[in-house]
């Protein structure tokens, strides 16, 4: 499973300060740290408090791609900010994200086609997040159909079935796993899958344990990637172990180190 490192996000105070002061140090530090820990992508989110999202996103892209060779995942609801970032990305990037709402899909898949970008598609629409797997899968199919219509390769699409915290939306857990399984049957080749991993543990006391358990259970259902804390060593070790148990990587005694170094 690919880890999309979540840490360069204006929700964190050090990154918010960095963006405000245009001081690259914290961004560089987290880019390097997440890369060293085994992240495969770096998520960039300018956060809620920024007035000019376009220039903030451009700055984050510039600073991050100086510090790391990893592909970037541009995370914003402001598609102008995403487009500004895509224009200056040196490597094909990922767009995070688009719901199954027609005018948004029109904009995002056009961008994806133009910039050869990957896309995270959310299994939700104007009515919000569905309760059951069937409705999630139906929205996933809309995303697949639009992706195909805009000529974006289906395996450049990552569907996020949307995870709710296990203390408030406990009944969503099994629905998410079922959605992950069914997404792999939607097309050939099938779309990829992703989740915002830390959502599962929002507001709970034992967040890291819940994240790790959820990650390996979801991998067994077909999860390909997750926006997650790449610096949680136990999480990375759990993912590396699940890859061995699922016969995705060939075992050797140093398999955790090999997993961490594979993107470097």
């Amino acid at each position: 499973m690919i880890i999309i490192g979540e840490r360069i996000n204006g929700m964190f105070r050090d990154i918010a300060n960095a963006i405000r002061e245009r001081d690259p140090r914290a961004v560089i530090e987290w880019a390097k740290k997440q890369e060293a820990m085994g992240a495969g992508y770096l998520d960039l989110n300018v956060g809620p408090a920024v007035a000019d999202r376009v220039s903030a996103m451009k700055w984050l892209v510039e600073v991050t791609q100086e510090a790391s060779k990893l592909p970037l995942c541009l995370d914003s609801t402001d598609y102008d900010a995403i487009e500004a970032g895509l224009e200056i990305c040196k490597r094909p990037a990922m767009i995070n994200s688009v719901p199954a709402i027609q005018e948004k899909m029109d904009r995002v898949f056009t961008l994806a086609s133009k910039y050869n970008a990957e896309v995270i598609g959310l299994a939700m629409n104007e009515e919000g997040i569905p309760k059951d797997a069937e409705s999630r899968v139906a929205l996933a199919m809309e995303l697949v159909a639009n992706c195909d219509a805009y000529g974006v390769p289906i395996d450049n699409l990552y569907i996020d079935p949307l995870v709710l915290p296990c203390n408030v939306g406990q009944d969503h857990g099994p629905e998410v796993f079922e959605t992950l399984r069914q997404i792999k049957m939607l097309s050939d080749p099938p779309p990829k899958t992703t989740v915002g991993l830390s959502n599962i543990s929002q507001g709970t006391k034992n967040r890291e344990l819940i994240n790790r358990v959820f990650a390996v259970m979801a991998m067994a259902c077909g999860l390909d990637s997750a926006i997650a804390d790449a610096c949680d060593e136990e999480l990375v070790a759990s993912i590396a172990t699940a890859r061995v148990v699922l016969n995705m990587d060939i075992y050797c005694d140093s398999y955790v180190d090999v997993f961490k170094s594979q993107n470097q």
């Binding site: 990587d249 060939i250 050797c252």
Partner: protein
């Protein structure tokens, strides 16, 4: 309507390793050889690139190989006492792509030859032939650790293929390869997990060595569990093509050594009338073993019988015909 063949797409490829060095490159070889570089399963030219043909090395010893059966020895009777002449005959008469020198004389139970004596032999072979060389010790790790380093030093710049690094004894060979710029054989006991781990251990000593490792996965001969060797190799090659960098090395097998220690190769027709002519049988046994390993992706075959070598080189010619 034409049937469209389904083609598998792989995202990675086997590393390419260069053996030998010419004068311009700091050695004395007449040419260099490349192995590996495949981006598809063996000989599936239509699915990817098979840029380098598999190579056949012929094995020579630095002592008279008394234990070899008469039928095999007869090919080399005139040259046994001269490793240089033996190597030359293998290259010029039998078409060996490389020469593998086995320093049997170093065995403490045979002659316990010193590093200096081994170096003198190596120099003779280097002078006699222009092809790149593979060197093996006597097979006893403790003694081999005392000769491989000096041999590597004496042939600095020749880019030899040094044998063999094993999981519990890899440092001397890896250090010699690192210090004197040679390639090395990483040998594991028919165990893919150890094959991978050994490459990691070598890479921890020196990352650039990753591009100079040739994996010896250890093979069995036909009838002695070759299917097990085959499946290990197949799994490693799938891993390499799918992006496992720690298994993406070309491979080498001691085919002659395995085959000629099995009774099917050496027992006479008088002893086993039902088995037919010993000479034909042994050639077939060695060639068929080599052929099966080629299909599993073997890049270098170390062989003994010149007639089997001829058959295998013909097979490689045929399999390297473009089928894309």
């Amino acid at each position: 309507m034409a049937v469209e063949l389904f083609k598998e797409k792989y995202r990675s490829q086997v590393r390419e390793v260069v053996l030998g060095a010419t004068k311009e490159e700091g050695g004395t070889r007449s040419h260099t050889l490349k192995v590996g570089g495949e981006s598809a399963l063996p000989f599936l030219h239509f699915e990817g690139k098979i840029p380098n043909r598999p190579l056949v090395a012929m094995e020579i010893w630095d002592i008279v190989p008394e234990e070899w059966p008469a039928g095999l020895k007869s090919f080399f009777e005139d040259v046994y006492n001269d490793p240089g002449a033996w190597a030359k005959k293998c290259v010029e008469e039998y078409g060996a792509d490389l020469i593998a020198v086995r320093f049997k004389s170093a065995d403490p139970d045979i002659k316990d030859a010193s590093a200096e004596e081994c170096i003198a032999t190596l120099k003779k072979v280097l002078e006699a032939v222009g092809v790149p060389l593979i060197i093996y010790g006597c097979g006893k790790a403790e003694k081999d650790n005392t000769i491989i380093g000096p041999l590597a030093e004496a042939a600095e710049g020749e880019n030899l293929l040094l044998g063999v690094a094993e999981q519990d004894n890899f440092k001397s060979v890896a250090s010699a390869a690192m210090a004197y710029k040679h390639c090395l054989i990483a040998q594991s006991p028919i165990d893919i997990n150890i094959a991978k781990q050994l490459n990691i251990l070598i890479a921890e000593m020196s990352t650039p060595l990753l591009d100079r490792i040739v994996i010896d996965p250890t093979v069995a001969s036909l009838g002695y569990g070759i299917e097990y060797s085959y499946s290990i190799m197949e799994r490693a090659r799938f891993g390499a093509l799918q992006g496992d960098r720690m298994l993406a090395m070309p491979t080498i097998a001691n085919v002659g050594h395995e085959v000629w220690s099995k009774k099917e190769s050496f027992i006479s027709e008088e002893e086993q009338p039902g088995w037919g002519c010993q000479e034909e049988r042994s050639i077939g046994w060695e060639a068929a073993t080599a052929g099966a390993l080629l299909q599993a992706g073997m890049d270098i075959l170390v062989m003994r019988n010149p007639k089997a070598v001829g058959l295998v080189k013909k097979l490689i010619d045929d399999m390297m015909q473009d089928n894309s």
